[in-house]
Every structure is written in structure tokens, then in C-alpha cells.
């Protein structure tokens, strides 16, 4: 692992809570409000870490394990992305399956923790979350397959690193479609509008928020941090596809990555202010639309 990769990893870990802050700030400014400060999530995490925890009597160890497993799997998943634009710290053949599997592990643990409370609200959120996830996974794989066909590599470090920069001139149109599809996936997996509204607190309209209703204190801090890290990870995916950084020098590549993720957060804020949340039975249609875009990218490559 080069020092740029290590530095990028550190920056990602420390700056992740700022990413949702940028999205919220953009949305507030566009809707005419001042909005919360960009660093709000840091204050929230600090406050939560100093609090105690309340556990429900119906819960078992599964409830306590949920946030821990989710965050640990996300941190391991970060190691498979080429943050410096060239190669990833860890990688082997077929590790895109590993990436998807780690995200699934985190989701499994968190949803089970939600069901452990025995409340119907968490059950509602869990049911919707797994429905959306069932359509998000094949879409993610379609995007990955488009990258596989473009670069000829089956490892994430290769698919998003140097071979991608080589493939851009030839397959630019297809890769742009993949990037758009990945952005829609970002909105779906991180529960942003139009899939889910992170700001609403009406029980019947929440998806992700409602699964974590009963977590408190440090557990909630872990979940919030994990959510921010996941948003940053998907931002890294989108930036890597749109802006191949293999030809840039190490420090510049990292700076471009940071700027790119910030730009993605701004884009998320813009989308959140111009669109309304979709009706729940339209969300699979949105994800199938993203999948169709990615498959069009694949068709262009095979042409």
C-alpha cells in the first residue's frame, strides 16, 4: 500500500461524517434555509459516544451485534477500493463479490438487530429495506460487469484503477451510463431521496431510519458513522468511474478524490431538493431503470 493510499484511507475515515453534512447543507441552501452546519454529524457522534445505552428487554445479543458487524464489514470493504486511483490495499480475483458480500453482511446484521426488538415499526422498515436491497444488488452487479467487460479485470482494484483509465477513451459513453447507474444506486443504498427521506420522522414513510429506532448511545453513533462511511464509499465508486485518476500523481489523485466525493455530496443535495420521495412500489421500478441503463452500457461494450 502506497503512502497515498494510506493517507486516502485515513482521510476517508476521518472526513466521512462530513459527507452527509455537505448534502444536507446543499439541500438547505437550495430550499432557502441556513441549515445545520456541515460538521454537525461530528458533534452528534461526540454527544452519543458519551451517553449510556438503553437496551430493550426483548432483545438478545443480535441487537448488540448489529451496529458492530455493520461497521466492521464496511471498514474491511474500504480496503478493496483503489483510493489512490491505481491499486487497492487488498484485492484478489473476484473481490467485487467480496465487496457486495460485505455490504450484505452489514445489512443482514442491522436488519436482524431491528427485528430483534419485536416492534412492528422495525419490521416494516426491515421488510422495505430488504425489498429495495434485492433490487439494488443485481443493479450493482450489472455495473460491475460493465466495468469487467471494459477493463478485462475481475478485481475491484483493477476495475476502478489503472486499467479503467486505459479503457476510458474507448468505452467512455458506456462508462458514463454506468456512473449514472451507480449514482442511482448510491441514492438507493444510502436511503436518500427519492428512495427514502433521511429527514422524515413519520414512521410509515421511513425505511432506514426506522430500523435503527431502538439503538441508543454508542450503538447509534456506530450506525450513524457507518451510514456516513457507506455514503462516502459509494461516492468513491462514482468518482472512480467518472474520473480515472491513474495518470495523476499520488497527492493530486487523493485531492481529486476528496473533491469528487464532496461534489457527489452536493449532487445528492441537489437531487434531494428537486425531487420528492417516490411511492414505495415505484422504487423497484427506479432500480430496474438504473439496471436497464447499466445493461445498455454493457450492450454498447459488446457491440
Amino acid at each position: 500500500m502506497t503512502w497515498e493510499g494510506g493517507a486516502a484511507l485515513g482521510i476517508l475515515g476521518i472526513a466521512a461524517p462530513a459527507v452527509p453534512g455537505i448534502a444536507v447543507k446543499t439541500k438547505s441552501l437550495l430550499t432557502g434555509r441556513r441549515g445545520a452546519p456541515v460538521l454537525q454529524l461530528y458533534y452528534d457522534l461526540w454527544k452519543l459516544l458519551r451517553k449510556g445505552t438503553v437496551y430493550s428487554r426483548t432483545t438478545t445479543w443480535v441487537f448488540r451485534a448489529g451496529p458492530v458487524v455493520m461497521l466492521a464489514s464496511l471498514l474491511v470493504a474500504t480496503l478493496f477500493l483503489p483510493l489512490d486511483g491505481r491499486a487497492a490495499p487488498a484485492g484478489f480475483a473476484g473481490d467485487l463479490v467480496v465487496f457486495a458480500g460485505l455490504l450484505a453482511l452489514g445489512r443482514f446484521a442491522l436488519v436482524l438487530a431491528g427485528l430483534d426488538t419485536g416492534s412492528s415499526f422495525e419490521g416494516l422498515g426491515a421488510s422495505r429495506e430488504v425489498t429495495i436491497a434485492s433490487f439494488a444488488e443485481p443493479t450493482l452487479f450489472l455495473c460491475f460487469i460493465a466495468l469487467v467487460l471494459a477493463t478485462g479485470e475481475i478485481s475491484l482494484g483493477g476495475m476502478l484503477g489503472t486499467p479503467l483509465a486505459v479503457a476510458w477513451p474507448r468505452a467512455g459513453a458506456s462508462l458514463s451510463l454506468v456512473g449514472i447507474s451507480l449514482f442511482v444506486l448510491l441514492l438507493a443504498e444510502n436511503s436518500r431521496v427519492p428512495v427514502d427521506d433521511p429527514a422524515t420522522h413519520l414512521e410509515l414513510t421511513m425505511i432506514h431510519e426506522v430500523i435503527v429506532l431502538d439503538h441508543s448511545g454508542p450503538d447509534l453513533a456506530l450506525i450513524l458513522y457507518g451510514g456516513a462511511l457507506k455514503l462516502a464509499l459509494f461516492g468513491v465508486l462514482v468518482v472512480s468511474v467518472f474520473v480515472p485518476r491513474a495518470d495523476l500523481s499520488g497527492g493530486v489523485a487523493v485531492a481529486v478524490l476528496v473533491a469528487g466525493v464532496a461534489l457527489v455530496a452536493v449532487a445528492v443535495g441537489v437531487v434531494e431538493s428537486i425531487m420528492a420521495r417516490l411511492r414505495l412500489n415505484r422504487v423497484p421500478q427506479l432500480l430496474v431503470g438504473a439496471a436497464v441503463l447499466a445493461s445498455f452500457g454493457i450492450i454498447l461494450q459488446l457491440h
Binding site: Q285, A291, V292
Partner: protein, 212 residues
């Protein structure tokens, strides 16, 4: 020029997919209008040099496909007071998947058709895809207005296919293509008007009541 034409063709496919995926009829008409603008740009990008002929063809296409027809359709929507499409016969997810299948088939077939080679290799596949998607919209949607939109997309596909032969085809054929569109829309407009007047709705599945 080559890359710009390629970009325009890709945007045409995206506009097809947008029409397939949306429920609001006004969005469909906006997609159709966008498609008209793109189709108007295309002869200008494909012609080896800008001539009066190419420019006038482009302007005429834009005028008809992007201005007149969408305005006519929007007026029909206002008079019939419909806003949204109800669930199509194959479902929204099904129509999107069929659209993707149509695009795949178009690309697969186009490479096997015995056509003279054109310099823009995407033109034939995109025209076939647009044709098939237009047919898909025409057959699976319930509202008569959506069927008109589907017919127009079908005609756009045929127009695209005709663009492969602009060099060897005289001006008369292009006029004939445009006239074809006019006649089709005219008939569809009359039919829509009569359906609406007779049944107070534009749901074409209710046409089966005629046979009772």
C-alpha cells in the same frame, strides 16, 4: 462530428427509455419533444458538409416533431383531462425489461443484417431499437394517447433508418416521410376525439365494449 452524432444517438435511446419508464403523460410528451430535437440535429451532424438542404431538413424536423406534434398532444391531454398512465399490460418493470431486451435484440440483429456499411455504426441499431420500443409502447399501453406516442416513436425509428440513405435519396422521399407522419397523427387525432366523445374517456381497453 462523428462523436457528436454518436452522443445524439445514445441520447435518443435514453429518451426512449425515459418514455418507457415514466407514468406522467406530460413527461412522455416532453421526452418525445426532446427526441424530436435530437432527430433534427442528426442530419446536420451526419452530412459531410452543411448544406441548405441539410439545414432545412433539420429545421423542418424540429418544427414538426418537437413543436407541432407535442403541442397537439398536450392540447389533447388538456381536453381529455388525463394526467397519468395506469399500469400497462406488462407492468412498468416488465416494460422496462422488455425495452432493455429490445435494445439488445436490435444491436444483435443490426450486425447481421445485409446492409451497406455506413460510417455511423450506431445508426442502424438505434433505429431498430427505437422502432421496437415504439411498437412496445403502442401495444402495451392502455391510454389511447400513449398509443399515439408509441406510433410517433415508431415513425421516429423509421426516420432514423431512412437517414442511412440521405446521400442517395432525393428530397421527395423525405417529404413523403414527413407527410406520412402528418397523416398518421391526423387519423389518430380524429380517432382519439371520437373515442373521447363517445365514451368520455381515453381508455382503449374499453373499445372492446364495441363488440358486445
Amino acid at each position: 462530428m462523428h462523436n457528436a452524432a454518436r452522443l445524439v444517438l445514445l441520447l435518443i435511446v435514453l429518451s426512449d427509455l425515459a418514455v418507457l419508464g415514466t407514468t406522467r403523460l406530460t413527461s412522455c410528451i416532453r421526452g418525445l419533444a426532446a427526441q424530436g430535437v435530437l432527430l433534427g440535429l442528426l442530419p446536420l451532424l451526419l452530412a459531410p458538409q452543411l448544406s441548405v438542404h441539410a439545414v432545412s431538413l433539420g429545421l423542418g424536423t424540429v418544427a414538426v416533431k418537437a413543436v407541432v406534434l407535442p403541442w397537439f398532444l398536450a392540447r389533447a391531454i388538456r381536453e381529455a383531462a388525463v394526467r397519468r398512465e395506469i399500469e400497462p399490460l406488462v407492468g412498468f418493470i416488465g416494460s422496462q425489461l422488455l425495452g432493455a431486451l429490445a435494445i439488445a435484440l436490435a444491436f444483435a440483429i443490426a450486425s447481421r443484417l445485409p446492409l451497406p456499411p455506413t460510417q455511423q455504426s450506431l445508426l442502424v441499431p438505434v433505429s431498430l431499437a427505437t422502432l421496437m420500443i415504439g411498437f412496445l409502447v403502442l401495444t402495451t399501453r392502455r391510454k389511447a394517447l400513449m398509443q399515439v406516442v408509441g406510433y410517433l416513436i415508431l415513425e421516429n425509428g423509421i426516420y432514423l433508418f431512412g437517414l442511412t440513405h440521405t446521400e442517395s435519396v432525393p428530397f421527395l422521399i423525405e417529404l413523403g416521410v414527413l407527410l406520412d407522419v402528418f397523416v398518421g397523427v391526423f387519423i389518430m387525432g380524429i380517432v382519439v376525439f371520437h373515442i373521447n366523445r363517445e365514451f368520455d374517456s381515453l381508455d382503449s381497453t374499453r373499445l372492446t365494449e364495441l363488440s358486445d
